[in-house]
């Protein structure tokens, strides 16, 4: 504080003054410095006066109290002077508001039917939209729960000429990339992982863990997921070249095996015969690259570990999302540098993909489609609401006009209408949330296996906030639209129309509403019909095998107990014999890759025909499977030429292969493939073709042609196989159970991982189109119903408006059929325009649906025709009652009542 001007030169400030100045410093900022200066100046003068008059002590006491009181009043202004006026204002406002709410409720209750329909319509729209939004938000928008997920990238090695030809990384890459991190490369850190399976033993029966993720020591620090309990794995957990003695388990395993006991931390598990102790639990919802991981184990990947060459998946963290391309370039350089060491990398380059896209990319389009569909539905609901409110506004126009004529200001009428709309919106919103809760359950149940991040799909605060905002916005906007419309009319014409004159403006507006509704319903119905037809087309596709009676079981042989190839081959031979001995099993076989199985081993290998250089620039690629005898019989895959793989194919016998029809056509166009030879694995293996089998749709009915070849399991032996058994009783579940029992009989300590009917794989393969078809059908049905209600309401209103005209026509000799024609003509006109608009929307929106369609064109005439017929039927049905009412009008009565 600056030195005050014009005071007597005080030798030194008194204690009271110091206190006063201290409090002054604490004053709020709105008390200006000038004012504080004045206060201090006044204080000094009064103190000087008091001292001069010999009452310094009393002054000190009073001034101390005064200083405290002044400070308090600076913060808590005493408004007593202004209070009366303010109090009056507030009571006035409060009474208006509560009055408006009371009046609104009374009005809404006076027309319960109308109110219920309006609230339910809104609830339908809000409920559906909220349920879909919960998915939209949970999968696409909700933060991932990782540290800066936008800076994470999934890195792949793909061939520069054949982009679908991808490879995993080498352990030696990891070392090179770690060296690159920092140093201006744009890379901040890298993490790698690969899949494995593990057998959990001890405490109860042995449990085959489907997915064990083997990660490097940096994995958890690079991704940064939050553990549920305990911690993630770190670099300190791994010793040179070894796997960690600690592990992190998944929430699912934690709940199923350990009863969600938090004391699981520190417990020892026997995994594949090795003791590891649990240090953490990862939640199901943790957005790690793969869902459903049972256990994470860290490993120190050393460059000399060639067993893992090309098997590692890589995740990179870049400095910032913008430095993805820098990082891509430096990684490409690192990959090129490693080329000299490994010729297999020739022609491959590194590509960066956003981690978020990787998690949800496959369903993004589907969710958007559902979101667009449900938005159309909401729009229909809103238009219906507007139509309903319009009908009320018409009947209320007289009341409004009267109120205005009596001097009510527009703002007053407006606030009453606003309040009514708000109350209705909230009613609809509450009902909508209840509906959304039900729909949400249904959706999550339907889409559990379909959607990533399904654990993040919940009805929580952001979603409920969205529901509230949607219902209020929809209710206000569409509920008030008609009322706002009356505001544009002058009082005189309002009064006139209220007194019964014709209302062409209303009619036009309602007609517009009907057209919009029909158009939206058409768009949704076309989408639904297309999806349904696509689903039918998928079902009609011959998959190339018959899985109807087949039960399957996955068996991953314990690598220690079954180390040698002969042991593995013998296991599956014995299992097959055990099963074939049963009367209820017709055929049994095993394959390294079963069609439509999402967790199968499925990769293609380059091959060379006789006379081609197997190490040269090989362009031929075919998918490789190893199968046991009986596999083709069990799956009912037809033999076209030659013979199948059977018991005569021994490990030390001639190396043979069975190829599929596409392979035969691509490799030996026109020539007989049986007896020909080809080589793969870089020429290290040459096989002679002994037979040709039919093609199967490997990845699902929508899959295209694939060249495949099959080698005898005894000649190329895998430990992880899927056994298929055909039931002679038409009971695939019991066939699957029989495999499991036979496996236990053969070796009780070698568990069967999972067994189920083949048909469940087939239905899973069409889960995504089925989900969309189901959703869109539900939307379309509701949309058609709402549109029908809209048409009904609009026509009924139209007939009511034209009572006089119709009566006059009847009086002048028009027959009932003429009147019917008049009304139906009206409804036909509206629906025709709506249909046209709807088809135009379909044309624009076809691109969104196209990726989900199979075997049906988005502009498919049959689908469009079917929808057109449905719309005509619906509109005509909705017009029946109003038309009948019009035809029954008695001219004498009408004219008398007017």
């Amino acid at each position: 504080m600056s030195r005050p001007h014009g005071t007597r030169s005080a030798v030194r400030p008194s204690l009271t003054e110091l206190f006063f100045r201290l409090l002054l410093a604490l004053y709020p900022r709105r008390v200006s410095a000038g004012e504080r200066e004045d206060m201090l100046w006044l204080f000094r003068r009064l103190e000087a006066d008091a001292v001069a008059e010999g009452r310094g002590v009393r002054f000190a006491a009073a001034a101390t109290l005064d200083a405290l009181g002044g400070l308090r009043r600076a913060y808590v202004p005493d408004r007593s002077l202004l209070a009366p006026a303010r109090r009056a204002e507030r009571t006035e406002f409060m009474s208006t508001l509560s009055h408006d709410v009371k009046v609104s409720l009374r009005r809404l209750a006076r027309r319960p039917g109308n109110t219920a329909v309006a609230a339910f319509t809104l609830a339908l729209g809000v409920g559906a939209v909220t349920a879909i939004f919960s998915v939209f938000y949970g999968v696409l928008l909700r933060p991932l729960g990782l540290t800066a997920p936008e800076s994470l990238a999934l890195v792949t090695l793909h061939h520069t000429e054949r982009p679908s030809d991808t490879m995993g990384f080498w352990p030696s890459h990891l070392e090179a990339l770690r060296d690159q991190a920092g140093n201006g490369s744009g890379l901040e850190g890298v993490a790698v992982y690969y899949y494995d399976s593990a057998t959990l033993e001890g405490e109860g029966e042995a449990l085959e863990l489907d997915t064990a993720l083997i990660v490097d020591g940096d994995f958890f620090s690079v991704l940064g997921p939050q553990p549920l309990v305990g911690r993630g794995l770190t670099r300190e957990d791994v010793a040179f070249g070894r796997r960690s003695d600690v592990c992190v388990i998944g929430e699912q395993l934690w709940r199923s095996r350990f009863g969600a006991d938090p004391r699981v931390l520190g417990r020892d598990l026997l995994l594949d015969g090795r003791t590891v102790s649990v240090v953490g639990v990862m939640p199901n919802a943790a957005p790690l690259p793969v869902p459903g991981v049972d256990v994470w184990i860290a490993e120190d990947f050393q460059p000399q570990n060639t067993a893992l060459s090309g098997r590692l998946s890589l995740i990179a963290r870049v400095d910032a999302p913008s430095s993805l391309s820098t990082a891509e370039a430096s990684l490409a350089a690192a990959v090129t540098a490693l080329l000299d060491e490994d010729p297999r990398l020739d022609g491959y380059t590194a590509g960066f993909h956003s981690f978020q896209d990787h998690l949800v990319g496959s369903v993004r389009n589907m969710i958007w489609t559902a979101a667009v569909g449900v938005s159309l539905l909401l729009l229909i609901a809103c238009v219906n609401l507007a139509s309903l409110q319009l009908a009320r506004a018409v009947t209320r126009e007289q009341e409004m006009a009267t109120r205005r004529a009596l001097g009510a200001r527009r703002t007053q009428v407006f606030s009453q209408v606003l309040c009514e709309s708000l109350v209705l919106s909230l009613l609809g919103g509450v009902l909508g949330v209840a509906l959304a809760a039900g729909l949400h359950q249904l959706l999550v149940g339907l889409a559990t296996d379909l959607l990533p991040r399904i654990h993040d799909v919940k009805l929580d605060l952001p979603v409920l906030g969205f529901a509230l905002a949607t219902s209020v916005a929809a209710g206000l906007l569409f509920g008030m639209l008609p009322v706002l419309f009356t505001f544009t009319r002058d009082l005189a014409s309002s009064m006139r129309s209220a007194l019964g004159a014709e209302r062409p403006a209303w009619t036009r507006m309602r007609s517009a509403f009907v057209i919009v509704q029909v158009a939206m319903a058409v768009a949704l119905s076309v989408g639904a019909v297309l999806m349904a037809r696509s689903l039918v087309a998928l079902g009609e596709v011959d998959p190339g095998f018959d899985g109807g009676d087949v039960g399957i079981a996955r068996i991953f042989l314990d690598g220690d107990a079954y180390a040698a190839d002969q042991q593995k081959a013998a296991y599956f031979d014995q299992l097959r014999e055990l099963l074939l001995a049963r009367p209820d099993i017709d055929a049994v076989g095993a394959s390294s890759g079963l069609p439509m199985d999402p967790i199968t081993i499925d990769y293609d290998v380059p091959y060379a025909l006789a006379g081609e250089d197997p190490r040269g620039d090989v362009q031929r690629q075919a998918f490789f499977r190893t199968v046991t005898a009986g596999y083709f019989d069990a799956m009912d895959i037809p033999l076209q030429r030659g013979r199948l793989i059977d018991g005569s194919d021994r490990a030390d016998g001639e190396q043979v292969a069975v190829i599929n029809a596409t392979f035969a056509r691509r490799a030996w166009t026109g020539d007989d493939p049986v007896g020909q030879t080809f080589s793969f694995y870089g020429g290290s293996r040459t096989v002679r073709v002994v037979g040709v089998v039919g093609d199967v749709r490997f990845a699902g009915p929508a899959d295209g042609e694939r060249a495949e070849f099959f080698v005898p399991h005894r000649q190329i032996t895998y430990g992880a196989m899927t056994v298929a058994a055909r039931s002679s009783l038409g009971d695939p579940e019991s066939a699957a159970a029989a495999i499991s029992r036979a496996a236990l009989e053969l070796n009780p300590s070698q568990p069967v991982h999972s067994f189920f009917a083949m048909s469940s794989l087939e239905s899973q393969a069409v889960a995504s189109p089925r989900f969309l078809a189901l959703l869109l059908s539900a939307f379309a049905i509701v949309a058609l119903l709402l549109a029908a209600a809209g048409i009904f309401g609009a026509l009924a209103g139209w007939v009511a408006d034209r009572r006089r005209e119709i009566s006059l026509r009847v009086a002048l000799g028009a027959g009932g059929s003429d009147i019917l024609r008049l009304v139906f003509g009206r409804s036909a006109l509206l629906s025709a325009v709506g249909l046209g608009l709807g088809l135009a929307i379909v044309k624009v929106g076809a691109g969104l649906l196209a990726p989900h369609l199979f075997g049906v064109d988005p502009q498919d005439a049959v689908s469009l025709g079917a929808v057109a017929i449905a719309v005509v039927v619906v509109t005509l049905t909705a017009s029946l009652l109003p038309a009948a009412r019009a035809a029954r009008l008695q001219p004498t009565q009408v004219l008398r009542s007017e």
């Binding site: 409090l23 005064d66 009043r73």
Partner: protein, 129 residues
């Protein structure tokens, strides 16, 4: 029709409330002191002390709090220093039109009150006007 009537009723109620609620004595004294022209803080204190025969003696903390409140209520306003001012650096306060009205309303109220008291004949010792 309804609207002007409502507004009128509102005004009546506000007037009623205002006449029912008296001005606080300190506020009254500040307003009264300012009738003679703009004053700064020290001037105000001296004037009020004189006018109240030494019974009203305000100190800076509360005085300025009251001035702020009266300023917000637009009963007083900050003012230019008068020509004969000795301390041009200080803030001067003057009475606003609303302040003058409030003062006369309060004076009237006190007068009516006094009248009532005199009629009641139990306050004979009251000062003559």
């Amino acid at each position: 029709m309804a609207q002007p009537l409502q507004l009128f009723m509102l005004e009546i109620s506000i007037i009623k409330v205002m006449t029912r609620d008296a001005l606080k004595p300190a506020d009254f004294h500040i307003l009264l002191a300012l009738t003679g022209g703009p004053l700064h803080g020290y001037g105000l204190v001296q004037r009020m002390e004189k006018e109240s025969e030494g019974r009203v003696r305000l100190l800076p903390g509360n005085l300025y709090a009251m001035l702020r409140r009266l300023e917000e209520g637009e009963l007083v306003a900050e003012s230019e220093a008068p020509d004969d001012a000795t301390d041009r650096r200080r803030r001067y306060y003057r009475l606003t039109e609303a302040g003058r009205e409030a003062l006369s309303a309060e004076t009237g109220r006190l007068e009516r009150l006094l009248g009532t008291i005199r009629e009641a004949d139990w306050a004979r010792g009251g000062r003559q006007r």
